[in-house]
Structures are given as structure tokens and as C-alpha cells.
């Protein structure tokens, strides 16, 4: 472990700084979403301009289809989306960590994991969520979140078990397991600490996937319902008026885009680098 630790300390400072700079826009959006009750200039459910009113002094970003203040709705429409995506990412990463490490330590279970992932690849997440949301009409946001988590787990387990497999084959794991250490101890104390960067990166990727799935579902009017303020729902509602007040659509689009791109780039910077540099052709 000493060599990897040495390279880690060398690489740590710039890498950590890079992850932070890349995640900064997403963190700012998160802060804005949390502080929205203090910052929103107007009520989010009352008309203040004409429908699709232009951006002026009355409303900084103009009005939406009912003349409600786009800026205020933008500020308060992020929190639910971010919260749902975060919980999806937490559930998927947590479940995948446990199952993935277990699969690496117990190859017979690993084969089942492969089969489950092979099966999950056949069902595109958007279609799966449509199906579950339809068959569970009272589920709302919970149905969408649960569906996204269930559909995301097999693939994530495969990523974790691939990262854990080389660790599970190392001498110190064999020594510990021959010494009669319990399985949970092997999982939590011997394998898990070595997967830190993989898991952080995985969490970032699952968060982006969560944002994608939740926002596409909201766009298809599954989950949040009008008159709720929700970024994806705003895009769907205001699309017909894109010529009259482009901001009503462009602002929530920018918010979702910046959030997703920022977290994705940060996750990429977190991902473990290749052990050996690639040969130039």
C-alpha cells in the first residue's frame, strides 16, 4: 500500500483542487436552491406580469405561461429536484457498495450480479420509470425515485465489483480471511477503504443520472405536478411561449445543464487514474 499512498499524496493536492473548482457551480446552485425562500423576490404562485411577459423591472426574467415570476420560480424549483437526485445517488451508491464488495469476495454471487446487470441493460431507464409511474399512479415523486434507484443499482454494482475484484485477490485479504475474520469485517475494514475514489466518482455519476431521470420524468409530467415550481416542469410548461419569453425556458435549462455538467466533470476528476500511463502512438 505504501507506493499507492505515496503517489496519492503527490497527486492529491492538484486533484482535490480540480475536483473542487469543477464542482463549484453545482455547489453554488445548491446554495441558491437552499436559500431561495430568502432570495426569491416575488411569490411563486401569483401572476405579476402578463403571460410570457418580457423581462423588465417588474420581473427580472419575465413571466411564465401564467405571468408568474420566472426568477422566483427558478430559485425555488431546484431544491426538490436536487434532493430527489441526491437520495437516488445515495441509495444506489450504498446498495452497490455493499453488493459489489460482496460479489468481489464471493465469486458465485458475482456471477448473479453479472446476470442482473445483463438483464437491466435491456430496459432503458426512461421507459422503466414510465412503466412504474403508470402502474403506481399514487406514487408520485417516490415512485420515480424508487424506480430510478432500482434500475440504477445493477450497473453500479458491476462498477464496484470490478474495482473491488483486484483488491479481493490481494494477499492481505487472503491472510485476513484465512485468519478467520468475519465477512462484514473484510468488507468494511479491508476492502472498502481502498475504494474511496471509485465510490466518490460513482456517487457523482449516479447523481447526474438521478438528475437526468428525475428531470426527464418531470418533463413528462411524472412526479411533480403543476402548480409546483420544478425546473424540468417549467421547461415543459413554458415551451410553447419560447418565442415570447425565451428566459422562461432557457433559465431552468441552464440551471439543469450547469448542475449536471459540473457534477459530471467533478466525478470524472475523482475517478481513479490508470495505473500506467498510456503509450503515445
Amino acid at each position: 500500500m505504501t507506493t499507492t499512498e505515496a503517489t496519492l499524496t503527490v497527486r492529491q493536492q492538484p486533484a482535490r483542487a480540480r475536483v473542487l473548482t469543477r464542482a463549484l457551480p453545482a455547489l453554488l446552485l445548491l446554495l441558491l436552491a437552499l436559500a431561495s425562500p430568502l432570495l426569491a423576490p416575488r411569490a411563486i404562485d401569483r401572476p405579476v406580469t402578463a403571460p410570457y411577459g418580457p423581462a423588465d423591472d417588474a420581473a427580472t426574467l419575465g413571466g411564465d405561461l401564467l405571468g408568474r415570476d420566472v426568477l422566483s420560480r427558478l430559485l425555488s424549483g431546484g431544491a426538490p429536484l436536487i434532493a430527489t437526485a441526491l437520495s437516488i445517488a445515495l441509495v444506489v451508491t450504498g446498495a452497490a457498495t455493499a453488493l459489489g464488495i460482496l460479489a468481489a469476495l464471493r465469486p458465485r454471487l458475482g456471477r448473479w450480479v453479472e446476470r442482473a446487470a445483463d438483464l437491466a441493460i435491456l430496459l432503458p431507464s426512461v421507459l422503466g420509470i414510465m412503466l412504474i409511474a403508470l402502474a403506481w399512479p399514487s406514487g408520485g415523486r417516490l415512485a420515480v425515485g424508487a424506480a430510478a434507484a432500482v434500475l440504477g443499482i445493477p450497473y453500479a454494482v458491476r462498477v464496484v465489483s470490478a474495482a473491488a475484484a483486484p483488491i479481493a485477490a490481494t494477499g492481505y485479504i487472503e491472510t485476513a480471511s484465512a485468519g478467520g475474520e468475519r465477512l462484514w469485517y473484510l468488507m468494511a475494514r479491508e476492502v472498502l477503504p481502498n475504494l474511496r475514489s471509485t465510490l466518490l466518482a460513482l456517487f457523482g455519476l449516479r447523481f447526474v443520472e438521478g438528475v437526468y431521470v428525475v428531470s426527464v420524468a418531470a418533463f413528462l409530467q411524472l412526479g411533480p405536478q403543476p402548480p409546483e415550481a420544478d425546473w424540468a416542469l417549467m421547461i415543459r410548461e413554458n415551451a410553447p411561449g419560447i418565442l415570447l419569453n425565451p428566459w422562461a425556458v432557457a433559465a431552468p435549462c441552464l440551471a439543469i445543464g450547469v448542475l449536471a455538467i459540473s457534477v459530471n466533470l467533478a466525478a470524472e476528476a475523482l475517478a481513479p487514474a490508470r495505473p500506467t500511463p498510456e503509450t503515445p502512438l
Binding site: 425565451p246 455538467i261 470524472e268
Partner: protein, 338 residues
Amino acid sequence: MAGPLIPASTADGATAPEDRSGPARILPGAGRAAWLVARRLGMLALLLAAVFAAIEVLPGDAAQATSERGESAADVAVRRAALGLDRPVTERFRDWMSGLPTGDLGTTAHGQPVTTVLSGPFPNTLLLGSLALALSITGALALGSWATLRPGGRVDRAVAAASTAAFALPEFVVSVALLLVFSQWTGWLPAVTLTGPDGAPASWDMLVLPLLALAIPQIGWNTRIVRGAFADQADLPHVQAAILDGLPRHRILTHHMLPGALPAIAVSTATSAGMLVGGAVVVETLFNYPGIGAVLAGALTDRDTPLVAGVVAVTGAAISTLLLLADLIRDRILGTHR
């Protein structure tokens, strides 16, 4: 740097050669191909069974979902009987599954055959989807190869950042950006699709924006896979030997690295196809494009579960076919390398 999270061996949705399960290892050529086909078919049947079971277990059924306001329980029961929802689960499941191979996808919640509802818009989505798939694969191969020439160089870093950014974006964000730039500010391309008398888009330029909106996130996704697969290939002895022999770079790429990277790329094509179906629902709604996606979006507001299940079945079959191709490609390549 490119997609280290997705090493080719784990991202390519199939088992590595050394842990091939079952008879695949020992059977000769044709028998092995038959085994691969049987395995994929079994997977598909399992998925459809799971879909059917999920619909069955969750509360709410098609008869209830399509009920009008103020309809009595008796009316709902009558429609339930008309849709055959009052029969035992096992019987309905057998009917649905046995109808699938013959192209019978069951009945929508409104009592029409699912195939009738889908047959009109299907060619339009097939056109849009296959164009988007072709564009995303060629784009990804071009970008991935360009980045591989100088690992860690400026192009590589730019391609990595751009592809990571692109695949993070939901299709509707890309659609809105394209709409604002190409139809509102510049006025070069139409914002909505108008259909001609034959039900197809009236002119070719109406295809451009939906096509780009679908393809851009997929180019990002596939570029990462291609780049990762090439990086894995670069470490292999035969590629190292070719580099040391001083062969021309493009030749190393096409003749020494591409064959080994093909299985991973083939599987990512299959995954892309699935994502394109999901994306089509959004893009066709936004651009008013007359395809399956628009029908699906309508099925959501209509609460038409059987229609969605039918589309899931067809999509699953299409992805299975692509994965089977990937299996066969891998088999061929590993066969020649043995």
C-alpha cells in the same frame, strides 16, 4: 483519463472470455452461436416476465386508469371485463407472452391493438433513431481515435471534457439550446415538424434539430466508451509491438486496436439504442415529431400501461439483437486470437 470508471471489461455488458459460463466455452462454432442466441432470448423472456409482474404487483390497472370522472364502479368493472383484466394472472401472462413472437403486443387501455397504434409512427422513429445512432457511433469513433493519438495531450483533454459534459445533459436541455440558436436567433431551421399527407415529416430540414438533440448526448457517452476501449487496447503486447515497429498511427488504430475494441463499442451501441428510445420521447414531444416517442408521451397522460409495456417489449428485443451481435463479434475476434 478517458472513462477510467468504465473499463472496457466491465462496461461492455458481457462476461469476460475467461469466465464464460455454461457450454459457451466448449461448444464448436455453430453450436456456440446457437447457445449465445438462446442465452439472449432467455434474458429477454425474463425481462418481459419481470415487466409483466411489476405491472401486476403495483396498484392500479388499465381499466381504472382510463376511468372518466364520475364513472361508477360497475362501469369500470364492465371495461375491465372487456379488456380481459378479470381473468387469472397466469392466463393473461401466457397470452401476452405467446402473442409477442407473432408480433401481437396485446391491447391498449382503449381497446385497440397495440401494433395498430404503433405501426403509423414507427417508420418515422426508426428513421430518426437509426440516423442518430449512426451519427453518434461515427462521431464517437472519430473523436475517440483523434484523442487516442496523443494520450494526455490537448486534444485528449478537450475531448474528454466535452464528451463528459455532453452526456450529462438531458435531451430537452440540448433541444432548447438548439431551438434558441438555430431557429430563433438565426432562423436557419424550423422549430416544429410539420407532417405531409403520408404522415412523414414534410421536409428533410425538420429532421436536423431532433437528430442533433438525440445524437449529442449519445456522442458524448460513446466517445467515452471508445476512448476507454482504445486505452485498454494500447497496453496489450501486440499493440505495443506495432508501436515499436513504427507502423503508421492510423494503421495501428484501425488494424491493431479497433478489432479488440469492437465488442465494447458494439455493446455501447446497444445501450445507446435504449437511451435513444428514452430520449425520443422527450425530443419528439418538444419538436412535435410524429413518432413512437410522441405516442408514448401521449400514453402517459392517457395512463395507457399496456401500450408502454408493448414499447418496452419491442425496445428490449431490439437491444437484445444488438447485444447478440456484440456477442457474436466478440466470439469471432476471440476465436481468431486463440
